[in-house]
């Protein structure tokens, strides 16, 4: 299975990145690391009228920046992401492609009027990271509500599912990466 490089996209709370390495290694393979030298400046993708960052331009920029990298790129930002037709997205990925981006912005309980919960924030970000990376390995949304590939449009749904792939999606991942 190919390696995964985690790249910070500003604005970013860098303390969110390192805790992703070990669980992502368990999920996808032996080589997961955080890029220490490279950070993507996200301001170019900022949309003033929506006060959000476009996730699609961020994916394009990561594709250009890491053209030579032979693995998956996971861009992580603390900025709020959107695609034009939707009010927000937790993340976006190239289906069966190279790049995924995730945002921690709406995963933070403080945004919902609750107290800060760092542990929960880390877990939610991990689930969304596995989910979007799963798309880059060709996985589609899963009907099993405990599977990490289950579609979630709210944090409540993210909390319901686990950070793991169900046996069926695990089988598809192995089969998709075997060749």
């Amino acid at each position: 299975m190919s390696s995964i490089l985690i790249v910070a996209i500003s604005p970013i709370d860098r303390s969110l990145l390192d805790p992703l390495v070990e669980p992502l290694t368990r999920a996808f393979g032996p080589r997961v690391e955080v890029s220490r030298s490279q950070t993507l400046e996200g301001s170019f993708a900022f949309n003033v009228s929506r006060n959000q960052y476009g996730s699609t331009p961020l994916i394009s920029a990561l594709l250009d920046r890491f053209d030579d990298f032979d693995g998956r790129i996971l861009g992580v930002t603390s900025g709020d992401l959107f695609v034009p037709v939707l009010t927000y997205v937790f993340g976006e990925a190239q289906l069966d492609g190279k790049v995924a981006v995730v945002s921690s912005h709406r995963l933070n309980d403080e945004l919902y009027g609750l107290g800060a919960d760092r542990k929960l924030l880390h877990l939610r970000l991990l689930k969304e990271s596995v989910h979007e990376l799963g798309h880059t390995f060709g996985l589609l949304h899963c009907n099993d509500y405990l599977c990490v590939m289950h579609s979630s449009t709210g944090v409540e749904e993210i909390d319901m599912k686990t950070e793991r792939l169900c046996p069926e999606c695990r089988g598809k991942l192995v089969s998709n990466t075997a060749g």
């Binding site: 695609v83 034009p84 009010t87 997205v89 990925a93 289906l95 449009t153």
Partner: protein
């Protein structure tokens, strides 16, 4: 295999002139496992209808050229059950409301909340599933209820019913023969309703009613552009009947060219749509019917002998009504009950004199004519009884119909003996008693006049 997969995978068509909207919605739905098509304008959307069917269609209201409202109308003309969700900006909500009035499932305003979009699309698919299920159940109900009970107590009709039920258990091709109006389609439906194919459709093609030029497309379907005016692909009857039965009525009327094509399809169960190359397979049973003398048609070379033998595997002959007059009273009672129910009238009795008229009429139009006469009488009759004056013929006309062409006593005798034999269901003992002669004399008269049991 690929086509089956395509048909099973739920599909969404996104029509929007903005590339970013098409791309983001397409990606969103693909991750959910949908087959997604995109079109940048109405014309492209209409051309993509050939790659359908699309379960759900999302249409932008504001597009250059034909707008979403007009496109919705066009799509509904092609597929009246099309499930359409309108995409609009806040400023165009009035237009979206207009779209709802014209049959759109719902509308969304850009940008849409992902949770709302997910639930809306799920609801749309649920509605689509219910509509499809409802349609299937209605079809099945109409197939089952369409198979009216065959009414007939005569030995001839009991034999027809037995043959129909027996052959229903097999996949044998059946040829039903009989005069016009004897109930050939009813027998075909009875065979289908008693067969293992009963949960699939029975598709009727009246070969004599479809113009020769259109029959090929009617049976095999056509591809877009196969002929002038063929703007969209259309499935043919053989394709529609997959799993079920095709009833080819008036088979004796088809052209020599169609006979060759039909023979090929019956042998392979494979065909191509008109103007197409793709080989379509369909699993159907053939029942056909004719009132034409096919043997004579073979002799004068207007009907192919090889097709005749392919179709004439198991023949059921339905005798004309005049040869089984014992069936008339139960048929009359059946139609009276049927029309009393549909006209919300109380059950009406038949005056004995009126029944006598009905039994003695020659019925050249057979059961269909009898049904029409009863329906008319039910409209005219003043409850609680149908009287002779409610019937469209009188005794004098019947006597004229049943009269011989000359005044010879033997001509009258022949008609009278035949009438009594039919009335008694060809029971020789009872007929002889009714005629006041012994059985040997009756046998010799039957032989003399060349009378034959139907």
């Amino acid at each position: 295999m690929a086509n089956n997969h395509k048909a099973l995978q739920p599909s969404i068509l996104v029509v929007d002139d903005e590339l970013s909207v098409r791309d983001s919605l397409s990606k969103w739905f693909k991750e959910d496992g949908y087959r997604v098509g995109t079109a940048e304008n109405a014309n492209r959307a209409l051309s993509l209808m050939n790659e359908g069917p699309w379960d759900v269609m999302l249409l932008d209201i504001k597009m250059p050229g034909m707008d979403g409202l007009e496109l919705q109308k066009r799509l509904k003309e092609i597929d009246k059950d099309a499930l359409i969700i309108i995409i609009t900006a806040f400023a165009a909500v009035d237009t979206a409301v207009q779209a709802l009035k014209e049959g759109a499932f719902d509308y969304i305003t850009k940008p849409v909340d992902p949770d709302h979009l997910t639930h809306l699309v799920q609801n749309a698919f649920r509605a689509k599933k219910l509509t499809d299920e409802n349609w299937r159940l209605r079809q099945q109900m109409s197939e089952l209820s369409g198979a009216d009970e065959i009414v007939g107590e005569s030995p001839q009709m009991q034999k027809v019913i037995d043959l129909a039920r027996t052959v229903a258990q097999t996949d044998t091709t059946v040829m039903i023969r009989g005069e016009s109006g004897t109930g050939k389609e009813l027998v075909a439906r009875t065979i289908h309703a008693n067969s293992s194919r009963k949960y699939f459709p029975i598709i009727t093609v009246n070969c004599g009613a479809v113009p020769e030029t259109l029959l090929e497309s009617e049976l095999f379907g056509h591809e877009k552009g196969a002929f002038t005016g063929a703007q969209y692909r259309r499935k043919g009857k053989f394709e529609m009947a997959d799993g079920g039965t095709v009833f080819l009525d008036e088979i004796g009327t088809i052209s020599q060219k169609m006979q060759v094509q039909l023979l090929r399809v019956l042998e392979t169960k494979q065909f191509t749509r008109v103007g197409g190359n793709e080989m379509i397979s369909s699993d159907f049973r053939i029942i056909c019917a004719t009132n034409r003398d096919l043997e004579a048609a073979i002799a004068d070379r207007s009907f192919r002998e090889d097709l005749y033998y392919r179709l004439n595997v198991f023949t059921i002959f339905i005798p004309p009504l005049r040869e089984r007059r014992v069936d008339i009273p139960p048929l009359v009672n059946h139609f009276v009950k049927k029309y009393a129910a549909s006209m919300s009238k109380p059950t009406i009795d038949i005056d004995p004199e009126a029944m006598d008229l009905l039994i003695r009429n020659r019925w050249p139009g057979n059961v269909r004519e009898l049904e029409n006469v009863i329906e008319r009488a039910m409209v005219l009759a003043k409850p609680p009884v149908i009287r002779p004056e409610d019937l469209p013929f009188q005794m004098s006309q019947i006597q004229e119909q049943n009269s011989p062409q000359n005044d010879l006593l033997t001509s009258w005798e022949k008609i009278h003996i035949e009438k009594v034999l039919q009335k008694m269901g060809w029971n020789i003992t009872r007929s002889a008693e009714a005629l006041g002669i012994d059985r040997v004399t009756l046998y010799s008269k039957i032989s003399k006049y060349g009378l034959k049991r139907p």
